[in-house]
C-alpha cells in the first residue's frame, strides 16, 4: 500500500485478533480533491494541513482527526510487527498477541471511548517531533504492551525509571560529551533533574512500601507542582520527557556499542584452537590433560549427579514443582537432541525463554565444571600445580569449557557441527554422554526413559 493511503485506511482489530487495513470511505472522499493537486512535498503538506484543520477545531475537524488516527494506526501496527519480528521467535509471542493491547480504534467519527490513536494525537506537539515518531514512541511506552512484553522476559525502562537512576554528574557528562549541549542547557537540566529527584525518588520509595504495583507512573500534577511550582505542569512534564529521551538515546548508544561487559554470544568453535597446540607451555598442558582425563569420567559423573540433585531439590520446592520438567528437559535436550523451541510444549511451558530459565544450561555446565575442577585438581595435584594462578586457572577453565561445551553446542546446531568438530573426537561428546548416563537415575516417567 502506498503511504498516502494510510490517511484513509485504518488498521482495525479483527475478530481473529489480526490487524487489518480497513478503508474509511468518507475520509477518502474528503481527501480526494487534495490528492489531485500536484504538490511538491505533498506528504508533509498533507499531514500539516490535517493537523491545522483538526487543531482549529471547527468545520471538518472530525474528519481531519479520523484521517490522522488512520495514519497513527499504521505506526502502531508497525511497532507491533517489528517487536514480534525481532523478539517473537525467541520469546514466544507473535504480533497477534500484541494487537489487541493497542489497536482499539473502531473508526467512528465520534468514538464512544477514547482510542489509543486519539490519545497519541491529543498529546502530540508538532513543534517537538513528527507525528510518526511520536506515535511509535508512545506505542513503545504503552503500559499494557510493556506489561505483556515483560511477561515474555522483555523489559523496557520507563522514562521515570531512567530519570531516577541518573545522577546529576552523569547527566552533565552525557549532555556535554554526547549531546554537545551548551553550559546553559546543562545547568538548566541539572537543576531540573535535581528537583525531580527531590520529589519523585522520595515519593517512590514511600509509595512502594506495601504496594504491589511497581511500574513508575508519570509524575502527578501535584508532584509536578512540587518539582517546579513556577512552571505549567504540562510544559514541565514535556521537559522531563525530553530529558529522559536524551538519556535514553545515550543508553541505546551504549547498549548497541558494548551492551554488556562480556559477550554472551555463542562461541564459534572453529575459531577456538586446540588447547594443546595453542598453549605456550605445551608440555605442561599436555601432561595435565593426560592426567585429568583418567580421573575425568568418574569425577564428571559425580559432578553432574551432584548438580542435578541439588537443582531438583530446589525445583521441587517451587509451586508448582518444576523438578520433573527439569529432568525431562535435560534428557530431551541432551540425549534426544531436541531444539529449545520444541521443548516448550513438551514441558508445558509457553516459550523458549521459559525453557532457558528452567534449564539454566549455561549455569549447569559452569557448576559441573566448578565441582569438577577441585576434585580433578586433587586427583592430579602435581600436574595441576602450574595452573592454579588466577590467569592460568582461567586458561584451564577455558580448556574445560571447551571440552564440556562442544557436545552441547553440537546438539544445538547439527548443521554446523560437521564443520566444527575439532580433531580431538574422544573428549567431545563426553559431557552429554555422561549426562545421559547419569540422568537415567533421575527420570521418573517410564515412557521418557524408554524413548
Amino acid at each position: 500500500m502506498d503511504t498516502a493511503s494510510q490517511y484513509w485506511h485504518l488498521i482495525r482489530l479483527t475478530g481473529a485478533g489480526d490487524g487489518h487495513s480497513h478503508m474509511v470511505p468518507q475520509v477518502k472522499t474528503w481527501l480526494q480533491p487534495w490528492l489531485a493537486d500536484d504538490i511538491k512535498d505533498a506528504e508533509t503538506t498533507l499531514q500539516q494541513r490535517l493537523i491545522t484543520i483538526w487543531q482549529a477545531n471547527h468545520g471538518q475537524a472530525d474528519l481531519a482527526q479520523l484521517s490522522l488516527r488512520c495514519f497513527i494506526s499504521h505506526q502502531i501496527r508497525d511497532v507491533c510487527l517489528q517487536l514480534a519480528q525481532r523478539f517473537g521467535p525467541t520469546h514466544g509471542f507473535s504480533a497477534r498477541d500484541l494487537f489487541p493491547l493497542v489497536l482499539d480504534d473502531d473508526g467512528q467519527l465520534q468514538p464512544n471511548h477514547r482510542p489509543f490513536t486519539l490519545e497519541i494525537l491529543d498529546t502530540y506537539d508538532p513543534t517537538q517531533a513528527n507525528l510518526g515518531a511520536w506515535a511509535r514512541r508512545l506505542t513503545q511506552h504503552h503500559r499494557d504492551l510493556n506489561q505483556a512484553l515483560l511477561e515474555q522476559g522483555l523489559y523496557r525502562a520507563s522514562d521515570w525509571a531512567i530519570l531516577n537512576d541518573t545522577s546529576v554528574k552523569q547527566l552533565q557528562r552525557i549532555l556535554q560529551d554526547y549531546h554537545h549541549c551548551s553550559d546553559h542547557e546543562i545547568s538548566r537540566a541539572s537543576r531540573l533533574l535535581q528537583q525531580y529527584h527531590q520529589v519523585y525518588r522520595r515519593d517512590r520509595i514511600r509509595n512502594r512500601q506495601g504496594s504491589a504495583n511497581t511500574r513508575c507512573q508519570p509524575p502527578s500534577r501535584e508532584q509536578l507542582q512540587r518539582i517546579e511550582p513556577a512552571m505549567a505542569p504540562r510544559s514541565l512534564l514535556h521537559r522531563l520527557k525530553t530529558l529522559a529521551s536524551q538519556l535514553r538515546a545515550y543508553r541505546i548508544h551504549v547498549r548497541s556499542g558494548h551492551p554488556i561487559p562480556y559477550s554472551d554470544a555463542a562461541v564459534d568453535w572453529t575459531q577456538v584452537a586446540d588447547p594443546r597446540q595453542s598453549c605456550p607451555n605445551d608440555d605442561d598442558q599436555a601432561a595435565f590433560l593426560a592426567a585429568y582425563r583418567q580421573a575425568l569420567e568418574q569425577d564428571l559423573d559425580a559432578a553432574i549427579a551432584d548438580s542435578i540433585t541439588t537443582a531438583i531439590t530446589q525445583l521441587r520446592q517451587r509451586r508448582p514443582p518444576k523438578d520433573d520438567p527439569y529432568v525431562e528437559g535435560l534428557y530431551l535436550f541432551h540425549c534426544q537432541g531436541m531444539a529449545m523451541g520444541q521443548l516448550a510444549p513438551r514441558l508445558g511451558l509457553s516459550g523458549q525463554v521459559q525453557v532457558n530459565r528452567l534449564l539454566q544450561l549455561k549455569r549447569l555446565r559452569a557448576e559441573v565444571r566448578h565441582r569438577l575442577i577441585p576434585s580433578l585438581c586433587q586427583t592430579v595435584y602435581q600436574a595441576a600445580q602450574p595452573y592454579v594462578s588466577a590467569a592460568q586457572l582461567q586458561q584451564l577453565n577455558q580448556t574445560l569449557e571447551q571440552l564440556l561445551t562442544q557436545e552441547v553446542d553440537q546438539l544445538l546446531d547439527e548443521a554446523r557441527s560437521e564443520a566444527q568438530i575439532p580433531k580431538d573426537r574422544t573428549a567431545q561428546s563426553l559431557f552429554a554422554r555422561r549426562l545421559c548416563h547419569v540422568i537415567h537415575r533421575f527420570l521418573s516417567s517410564p515412557e521418557t526413559a524408554l524413548e
Binding site: 485506511h9 523489559y155 537512576d165 541518573t166 551492551p259 561487559p261 557448576e367
Partner: protein
C-alpha cells in the same frame, strides 16, 4: 485489500521505519534474578532512614543489588554463602562483602546503562581491605529485577587502561573492564585461593603529589594573629575565617562548621578565643575537603610557644573518604599521624602541634588513592 483507484505516488518521508535500535528493550538474561516482594521491602526499609535523597536512592539500589546477588548465589547448586550483609552495613555506605574468604564489592548500575561506573574508594583501600572482585549488577528497580552482568578481578583493574583516581579516591572504570563472566566468578569463588590474587599495588599507579603552593616559601602564621594573611597564604588564595560564630541548622558556612567541630573537641582540646586561622581552598584542586588551620600563642612556659591546630573535614553534604590520612611533622619526626578508618564514627581528622617560635611544621594529607597533598611549611614570626 483492494488498492485505491486513484494512484498516488507520494512518499511519506515522515514515517521513517523504526530502526531496531529504537527498541531499547532489555531481554531477560540467564543471570537475571526477579526479587520476591520480601527482598524489595527489606531494601525499602534499609534506605528509609537516610535523609539525603540522592544517597537514599543509591542505598536503595545497593540494597536491591545485594538481595539480587544473594539470590543469584543461592540459585546455583554450589554453596557459596555471602557474609553477614546487614542493614547497618548498607546504611554506612558499605558495598564490600565476604564470600569464601574473597572480598566482593557490589557495584549497582540502574536503568540508565552508562558506559562507565565508579568503584567506591573504600573498595580500593591500600590496606588489606581492598576488594578481590568488583561485581557489576544491573538493577531494574521498576520490575524488581537484578542482573549479574560480570565482574572485574582486582589484578586486572588496570588491564584496559591506566586509571586516574577521582578526588575522593574512587576510580571510574569503563564497563568493558568487567571482563569476567558471572559463571567465571563462580569458578574463582569455588576454586581459587584469595591469597593468589595480586594485591592492589597495581591499583594505585596514579598516585601523585598535589602542592597547594610552592613549598620553598613558608607560611607565616604569626601574621594571622594580627588578622592579616601573610603574603604566602594570600598567594595561595587562602581566606581568613570570619570570627567564630555559633552554629545554626542546615547548610553551614565554613566558620560555623569549624565552630561545631571545635565544640566537639572542647573537652579534650580547649581552643582559646584568640585563635585565628585561614582555610585553604582545596576545592580548586577538585577535592571536596576543607582544611582549617588555627594558631594561637602560649606563654605558660619560660620560652614562649605557638600552637598549630589543623582540622580536615568534608565540604557540606560530603563525607571524608575512608583511608584519608593527616600527618604533621617537624624536621625530625612525625608528630601526628591519623587515618580515618572505615568503621569510625568520626567525620573529620585533626592534629595539634606545639613548638617554640623558631620551630616549623609540615603538614601532609594523603588521599586513599595514595596521592598526597603537601603544604608549604608553617612558621611563626609575629614581627611585621
Amino acid at each position: 485489500m483492494s488498492r485505491s483507484s486513484h494512484t498516488v505516488t507520494m512518499m511519506i518521508s515522515m514515517s521513517t521505519p523504526v530502526s531496531p535500535q529504537d527498541f531499547d528493550i532489555a531481554p531477560w538474561r540467564p543471570n537475571t534474578v526477579t526479587l520476591p516482594e520480601t527482598a524489595v521491602q527489606w531494601a525499602l526499609q534499609t534506605c528509609q532512614p537516610i535523609p539525603d535523597p540522592a544517597q537514599q536512592w543509591q542505598i536503595f539500589l545497593q540494597a536491591l543489588a545485594l538481595q539480587g546477588f544473594q539470590q543469584w548465589l543461592a540459585a546455583g547448586t554450589l554453596e557459596l554463602p555471602l557474609s553477614d550483609a546487614g542493614q547497618q552495613q548498607l546504611e554506612a555506605g558499605m558495598t564490600t562483602y565476604q564470600v569464601e574468604g574473597f572480598r566482593l564489592c557490589l557495584v549497582a548500575q540502574g536503568s540508565l546503562s552508562d558506559d562507565r561506573v565508579t568503584l567506591p574508594a573504600a573498595s580500593l583501600a591500600a590496606t588489606n581491605a581492598h576488594a578481590h572482585f568488583w561485581v557489576l549488577l544491573e538493577v531494574q528497580e521498576e520490575v524488581n529485577q537484578v542482573t549479574v552482568l560480570g565482574s572485574l578481578r582486582c589484578d586486572r583493574i588496570t588491564a584496559a587502561q591506566p586509571l586516574r583516581p577521582n578526588a575522593e579516591g574512587s576510580y571510574t572504570v569503563p564497563i568493558a573492564a568487567f571482563d569476567t563472566a558471572p559463571e567465571e566468578l563462580l569458578l574463582y569463588l569455588s576454586c581459587l585461593d584469595p591469597a593468589q590474587l595480586a594485591a592492589p599495588s597495581l591499583v594505585r599507579p596514579a598516585a601523585e603529589d598535589i602542592h597547594p603552593g610552592a613549598t620553598d616559601r613558608p607560611i607565616n602564621v604569626g601574621r594571622w594573629l594580627q588578622d592579616q594573611l601573610d603574603a604566602m597564604a594570600a598567594s595561595l588564595a587562602w581566606t581568613l575565617l570570619p570570627p567564630l560564630v555559633p552554629t545554626t541548622a542546615g547548610l553551614r558556612s565554613p566558620s560555623e562548621t569549624l565552630t561545631a567541630m571545635l565544640e566537639e573537641l572542647e573537652p579534650t582540646l580547649p581552643v582559646p578565643e584568640t585563635a585565628e586561622g585561614p582555610t585553604p581552598d582545596l576545592q580548586r584542586f577538585g577535592l571536596p575537603f576543607r582544611l582549617y588551620a588555627l594558631t594561637w600563642t602560649l606563654f605558660e612556659s619560660a620560652t614562649p610557644e605557638w600552637s598549630l591546630l589543623l582540622l580536615l573535614g568534608p565540604v557540606d553534604g560530603r563525607q571524608l573518604p575512608a583511608g584519608i590520612r593527616l600527618m604533621l611533622q617537624d624536621q625530625h619526626t612525625i608528630l601526628v599521624d591519623q587515618t580515618l578508618s572505615t568503621d569510625a564514627d568520626a567525620t573529620y581528622l585533626y592534629g595539634q602541634v606545639i613548638g617554640t617560635w623558631e620551630e616549623e611544621f609540615m603538614a601532609t594529607v594523603q588521599l586513599p588513592s595514595g596521592s598526597t597533598l603537601t603544604f608549604p611549611p608553617f612558621v611563626f614570626n609575629p614581627a611585621p
